[in-house]
């Protein structure tokens, strides 16, 4: 039993952290708020060159063939930077989904056309599962993977009509997608489609959970920096117990969420039977912890953080959005309740 990331996984994560630390300061996130809906995502070429965008793609499509244990560390760093790019949709969800579909004429065609391009960072793929009302990053995607009526379809963006929906996170681009399924777009039906969509949901939830952990961590870092410098009543406000305890509770909640994310990544990577419960555990805990970190951060910043000019909101609003996306905490708790309470199917901590 060893419940830690490998040195290689940590090294990859460190490399992404270094890149984003240099190349994705808050100014880059802020710039994404003002960009056009179909503008290319910030840093996409650099991330692609590094192999990050295509990391989950099989080697034959130019990818690294890596799995969720590599991915969640990278995504936590993306969250930490509030990276305004669709790593979650394209790298964490779409590429593994497409790569895992059974061969067939339509699937082969879609893969030939899009998978290498996506892995190389030349084509963004967006994802719209049945439970989600909107598709993130649809306008800048070349391809949309969409679920409807128990089927999966790969729809070129040009074949869909998009209506932009403004999010509280200005770097997040949502659209309502109007499209027509056809035999040419149908990539999976029946059990195959159901399983692929379920796994895509789990991947999305775990990826969002990883980003939420990074977002929460960043908000706490910003706040720790602030409360050491800010003085009121003749003292650094970070020396007041009230401030300490807000931050300690928020930090503890995040530190308890992080191993849940790691466990869910392991479950995905090993295709364990209890994967859905592990994914829901991760998403619910990480979403709640990140929201809590946001509240604590804002309260401890005081009015200084309550300004659009301050960086805090860039992270806080992303956290709000991601906590509600890919199933909010209540949805995931309900899913766990069904498994654990109704079906007595509680997975264990160790590999099943």
């Amino acid at each position: 039993m060893r419940f830690a990331f490998s040195l290689e996984q940590q090294a990859l994560r460190d490399a992404v952290r270094d890149l984003l630390g240099r190349a994705c300061p808050p100014a880059v996130v802020r710039a994404a708020w003002g960009a056009d809906d179909d503008a290319a995502p910030a840093l996409w070429p650099q991330l692609a060159r590094m192999g990050v965008v295509g990391m989950t793609a099989p080697e034959r499509w130019g990818g690294l063939g890596l799995g969720e244990l590599e991915l969640v560390g990278v995504l936590e760093e993306a969250g930490h930077a509030a990276l305004p790019a669709p790593l979650l949709e394209t790298t964490a969800v779409a590429i593994p989904l497409l790569a895992a579909l059974p061969d067939g004429p339509v699937v082969d065609g879609v893969r030939d056309r899009w998978l290498g391009a996506a892995a190389a960072g030349r084509a963004v793929i967006a994802v719209g599962l049945a439970g989600a009302p909107f598709v993130a990053d649809a306008a800048r995607a070349a391809l949309l993977l969409l679920e409807r009526d128990g089927e999966l379809h790969a729809v070129p963006r040009d074949a869909a009509r998009l209506t932009a929906e403004a999010s509280v996170d200005g770097a997040r681009r949502l659209a309502w997608v109007d499209w027509t399924p056809s035999a040419a777009t149908r990539v999976a039906t029946g059990d195959v489609a159901r399983d692929a969509a379920a796994r895509a949901l789990d991947r999305g939830a775990v990826a969002a959970a990883a980003e939420l952990c990074g977002l929460g961590r960043r908000m706490i870092e910003l706040t720790v920096d602030h409360v050491q410098v800010r003085h009121q009543f003749g003292r650094a406000i970070g020396s007041f117990q009230a401030v300490k305890h807000h931050l300690a509770d928020a930090h503890a909640a995040l530190e308890l969420a992080r191993p849940c994310v790691a466990r869910a990544a392991y479950a995905l990577a090993h295709d364990e039977p209890g994967t859905a419960v592990h994914a829901s555990l991760a998403k619910a805990h990480a979403g709640d912890a990140a929201r809590r970190a946001g509240r604590a951060a804002l309260q401890c910043h005081g009015a200084i953080g309550y300004s659009f000019e301050h960086d805090l909101h860039l992270f806080m609003k992303r956290a709000w959005a991601l906590a509600a996306a890919w199933g909010d905490a209540a949805w995931h708790r309900a899913r766990i309740a069904t498994a654990v309470l109704d079906h007595d199917a509680a997975p264990g901590a160790f590999h099943a």
Binding site: P133, A166, F233, G302, A303, F308, A325
Partner: protein, 399 residues
């Protein structure tokens, strides 16, 4: 501040929750007028055009006698009792009335003028304030003086016929669009923290004043920094005696109709909208959403009852006192709770803002949530309110 301190029932010693005929008539008149006149879809007040639209509404309110119902008639009020004031507020928010852009004048400055101002100041300032002819910003906070208001460092130096003010104020709501500002300045640099402060009224078009707007959390241009460089303020624009600024300011923050005793109308109206949202969305609402909605509704009721109790007490001559800290804690947490419940109910649609075609209620809930998050911070952070409750109501020792 002249107030008809007793409602008709208050002379009676027993509990009586009926409204008098006068109160009922007052409420009916307010409701009818507001129903006919409350504007729909005003733009946010954080732009020149938007602000102008809000000012127009304030003037309409004033012309009909609803701007400052609790003030004496001489200043444009209606001599309304406490209960009538609550009834007006309830009707105002029930009708969907917008936030009051005059509030930093009528709720923060006016109480100070009623209590510490001169007759001349009251005659000169109150009516234009109520009529939204003079729009007032607050100049209380500074970059180094937020929660710790006594840390004010902006200075005022005595000169012939007045004072010369220098320094920086911040988080001054809507100052970009206001005509004047009220705030504390240090007139005696040698006095201890709370001493040596004086309460000034500063014209924002005076030479040496520079106002620089910035945006609040939701992106609205609603805040401003106000930089003062050797700005002359005449003696007649000092409120209270020089050096007594802290006392004057505290009478303001302690004002029962100011920021401390928040009228429950706004929150009760929000609770009503939340219930309406639930009823519309019930097909997709989970039992947990339902419970969160009912909890928030219940918290709004408790807050309303708490204020009715306070109003009865204060109308009977008692001071508001430190129970205002419970009040502040309650309304600010309630406001967050109400919006939390709505966002949970909306799930993945919660993030949609104004302008998104599928935003429920035009994005009002995520907007209101962001607005609510300011509540636990401003007007004394909730951490400070908890200290006050512990120290002044429970008698625990200071740190």
């Amino acid at each position: 501040m002249t107030v008809d301190a007793t409602s008709a029932a208050a002379d009676d010693d027993g509990m009586d929750l009926r409204l008098t005929a006068r109160e009922q008539a007052f409420a009916a008149e307010a409701r009818a007028w507001l129903h006919d006149h409350v504007p729909r879809g005003l733009p946010p007040s954080g732009s020149a055009d938007g602000f102008a639209a809000h000012v127009a509404w304030e003037r309409q309110l004033f012309d009909a006698g609803w701007a400052v119902v609790s003030w004496p008639r001489a200043f444009g009020g209606r001599d309304a009792s406490w209960v009538e004031w609550l009834l007006f507020e309830d009707a105002y928010y029930r009708a969907g009335g917008p936030p009051r852009v005059t509030q930093n004048g009528i709720f923060l400055l006016a109480p100070a003028l009623f209590e510490h101002g001169t007759d001349e100041q009251r005659q000169r300032l109150l009516r234009p304030m109520a009529a939204a002819e003079t729009l007032w910003a607050q100049g209380w906070s500074e970059p180094g003086a937020g929660s710790d208001l006594a840390a004010v460092r902006s200075t005022a130096v005595r000169v012939d016929g007045g004072w010369r003010l220098s320094g920086q104020k911040t988080w001054s709501t809507r100052a970009s669009f206001c005509h004047a500002m009220h705030g504390l300045f240090r007139t005696d640099p040698d006095a201890p923290r709370h001493r040596g402060l004086t309460y000034f009224l500063v014209p924002l078009d005076a030479p040496g004043v520079r106002v620089s707007g910035f945006r609040r959390l939701d992106g609205d241009l609603d805040f401003a920094d106000v930089f003062l460089d050797d700005v002359f303020v005449a003696d007649h624009d000092v409120v209270g005696a020089p050096g007594q600024g802290w006392k004057v300011a505290m009478s303001t923050t302690g004002s029962e109709r100011g920021l401390i005793l928040r009228s429950p109308g706004r929150f009760v109206a929000a609770a009503r909208r939340l219930v309406a949202l639930y009823r519309r969305e019930r097909a997709v609402a989970s039992p947990l959403d339902r419970d969160q909605v009912v909890r928030a509704w219940m918290a709004a009721q408790a807050y309303q009852l708490y204020t009715l109790q306070d109003v009865t007490r204060v109308a009977g001559g008692a001071a508001m006192g430190a129970s205002s800290s419970i009040n502040k804690l309650a309304w600010s947490e309630l406001d967050v709770q109400l919006h939390d419940a709505a966002l949970a109910l909306l799930g993945p649609r919660a993030e949609l803002v104004e302008g998104a075609p599928d935003a429920v209620d035009g994005g009002a809930w995520i907007k209101g949530w962001q607005f609510a998050l300011a509540g636990p911070i401003y007007a004394g952070t909730n951490e400070i309110q908890r200290n006050v409750i512990a120290e002044r109501l429970l008698g625990l020792p200071k740190e």
